[in-house]
């Protein structure tokens, strides 16, 4: 018996066709994953079921829920279903809740609008649901801004399951969360599915999350379901080439050249950076130790990883290393010279690649001006033909065409922008590059290409870098040595292979245990 059956669903916005004949089914108590890269139409598929599509979308096909075609229902009828029989949780827990209403009221509202319970009954039910999702320590009169991201996502889940819906739709529910939080939320969802026998439609870009979570899987590419079936079968057989390439890219390994015997290049010694907490009342504001007595050395030619969850202090440390923000204690030196008062001679030896391919470039400048900006660091920057040649060389180095120099940034894709960011970092031939979550915003296939580019650059020249990421699988493949950071401190460091095989610190062990991985059978043998 199917709970939800999407049949031949097509969707267009304006003149653009987004979905082409999408079909799949979900049974009660079943977890169905829809996966694909950005732009594949997976989120719009979910919103179609909820009938919460943006204005100006047209759909054809059928969305059968317990024998009724949801597309034929008017909004009043859909409102009776939403939050009652079909519920949904979203990707961004930080903004999904109304900031001016208590979390208790927001959960209770879902109960009050669908039932004729009294306020007191709804409150009691809300309390029970909050306890069920693991928020027993959170009072109902708390406001969203007082809760962490993981807690807020639990509130969203409590709100969604308050009336025991038959179908729950989860759109990238853990993408914005840390891996350890992600693991607990996934466990919670799995328990709830089993307990309530509800169907769960899970939208995710992360195949590793899906692998040991979903019962069935549908792989989408550019608005089409290219492959679907039981998870094990799809992942093992990989009948469709797109599925195969997606899986390969997810677990992409790069081939780094051997690191030379390192002499110390960057030395971070006893660095501490504190921030004043926002003032609470008239009391003296407290202090957060964002970076707490951190020391490490990065050798010349070494590829060093830095992993940690959000708020662990890695961004603060990065900014200190780049000499952008002062520290309260400790020293950071590059080749013996302090990054804070060394001036341009030190600064020109370090460059950075940021996470957001969209925010890293001034939208009003052309590529030649964008990537040559670090020339400002040089005493005698190249001019005229020399400058053009340097720009052309930097572009070719990262696999772009010298003709791209005259373009604006909006003419490039996300992956190309990260290549440009690398070109900008390389153009002054720095001794050290800091990759700050540099591949985290990219789709897996693009990420694989950018990682290949980094490995390729390492083969061409001795490249030393600090690779900061929350993504363990990426750090594992592009670094020689790794630091694990938690709450401002380095809790473990060592050769990457050793740390990943035999983590010593309990936190590292938790981190590795929580990180979703593709099961071994995916890679055992190539498909026939």
């Amino acid at each position: 018996m199917t709970l939800l059956s999407i049949q031949d669903l097509s969707l267009s916005i304006g003149d653009v066709d987004i979905l082409h004949g999408v079909s799949f089914d979900i049974a009660p108590g079943q977890i169905a994953a829809v996966t694909g890269e950005s732009g594949s139409g997976k989120s719009l598929t979910a919103l179609t079921v909820m009938d919460l599509l943006p204005r100006g979308t047209r759909t054809t096909g059928r969305v059968m829920f317990e024998g009724t075609d949801l597309r034929a229902l008017d909004d009043a009828a859909m409102c009776k279903l939403r939050g009652n029989d079909i519920a949904m949780i979203f990707q961004e827990p930080m903004t999904a809740l109304n900031p001016v209403q208590t979390v208790g009221d927001q959960v209770a509202e879902a109960i009050l609008i669908h039932t004729d319970q009294t306020r007191a009954q709804a409150q009691a039910r809300t309390r029970a649901m909050m306890d069920r999702v693991g928020l027993d320590s959170i009072a109902l009169d708390r406001y969203p801004h007082e809760l962490s991201g993981g807690q807020r996502q639990r509130v969203c889940i409590a709100m969604a399951i308050a009336l025991r819906p038959k179908l729950l739709i989860a759109d990238e529910p853990t993408t914005a969360l840390d891996v350890t939080t992600q693991a607990t939320i996934l466990d919670l969802l799995k328990d709830l599915v089993a307990e309530f026998q509800m169907g769960l439609l899970m939208i995710t870009h992360d195949l590793a999350v899906v692998a040991d979570f979903a019962d069935t899987i549908a792989v989408m590419e550019q608005g089409r379901v290219v492959e679907s079936g039981p998870t094990g079968v799809v992942l093992r057989d990989q009948t469709h080439p797109y599925t195969r390439s997606l899986l390969a890219a997810s677990a992409h390994q790069v081939d780094l050249p051997d690191a030379p015997d390192p002499a110390a290049l960057l030395v971070v010694d006893g660095v501490t950076r504190t921030y004043r907490k926002p003032r609470m009342g008239l009391a003296k504001p407290g202090v957060v130790r964002a970076v707490d007595d951190v020391s490490f050395t990065l050798g010349r030619g070494e590829r060093l990883g830095l992993v940690g969850e959000s708020g662990c202090g890695k961004s603060t440390l990065t900014r200190a290393i780049l000499g952008l923000d002062a520290v309260q204690a400790g020293t950071i030196t590059l080749d013996g010279r302090s990054v804070f008062d060394g001036g341009l001679p030190v600064r020109r030896r370090m460059q950075v690649v940021f996470q957001d391919p969209y925010g890293s470039f001034n939208p009003r400048h052309r590529v030649n001006r964008l990537i040559s900006e670090p020339f400002h660091l040089l005493d005698h920057p190249p001019t005229g033909a020399d400058r053009d040649a340097a720009i052309a060389r930097a572009l070719s180095d990262v696999g772009l065409s010298p003709d791209d120099a005259g373009k604006f940034i909006h003419e490039f894709s996300g992956g190309q922008r990260q290549r440009l960011a690398i070109a900008r970092a390389l153009i002054v031939e720095p001794d050290l590059i800091v990759f700050d979550e540099a591949v985290s915003a990219l789709d897996v296939s693009v990420r694989a290409q950018v990682l290949d580019l980094i490995a390729d650059l390492c083969r061409k020249r001795p490249l030393s870098y600090l690779f900061i990421s929350h993504d363990l699988s990426v750090v594992r493949t592009v670094t020689d040595r790794v630091l694990v950071m938690r709450a401002g401190r380095i809790v473990e460091q060592g050769a990457t292979a050793d740390v990943f095989h035999a983590p010593q610190h309990p936190y590292t062990q938790d981190l590795l245990a929580a990180a979703p991985v593709l099961p071994d059978y995916v890679f055992q043998e190539g498909p026939p």
Binding site: L322, L324, M350, Q351, S360, R364, E373, L377, R424
Partner: protein, 271 residues
Amino acid sequence: MKAGFYIGAVLSALVLGLAVLSFVWTPFDTLQLDVANKLKAPNATHILGTDHFGRDILSMVMMGARTSLAVALVAVGIGMGLGIPLGLWAAATQGSWLDEIIMRGNDLIFAFPSLVIAILITAVFGASAVNAIIAIGIFNIPVFARLSRGAALSLWRRDFILAARVAGKGRARISAEHILPNIANLMIVQGTIQFSLGILAEAALSYIGLGAQPPTASWGRMLADAQTLVSIAPHTALVPGLTIVITVLGLNLLGDGLRDWLDPRLRVDRS
């Protein structure tokens, strides 16, 4: 919305054209009194009629356009010229005592509506068009300072600014090279809004006698003169009033159109 932009552009151009034309030609001399022909309703000779001194109202409106546009333009110039650098400076040194002083100073000016500033100035220096300019200009400073600071702060958090800092550029240079060009659209749009508000403010100041003094023609004073005559010669009040409405409406439509077109919300890429 596109239609609004064109209507606004045409109306604004019309008023600007009248003001420019008044330098070389007006239908009648506005300094020449012709009491025999006073308070004539619109007719073939005087298209928009005459006022209580028999002066041609169309000519007065044209001369008044000059005053209004000049006062509003200079006032916006003062507001932008001082407000934007202050806002950029405050944003570049966010959280410092300098930022604090600039922002508190802004709050303070907001407590002095431009009319109150004009009253203070007039009480001590006497009334003139320059008063109006200073009063409206001072009030414009915090408007631009706040707006540019807010927009600049969101830019300072962007990675491309960090990249420029990594490239060794200082705060002033980053503000000029990266921040200013990215908030320019927003400032232009706000400029048209403040410009139209300036025209309204100038009219109000002149109406109560704190702005332009005779013989300088001014829409606000034309209305003040018309006040007691409104029941016997309504056109003396209707014409200058409608001129103000048309000018302000035109500028506002132009500003809205520019906003849609230039997209000032800094959603510049991410298309």
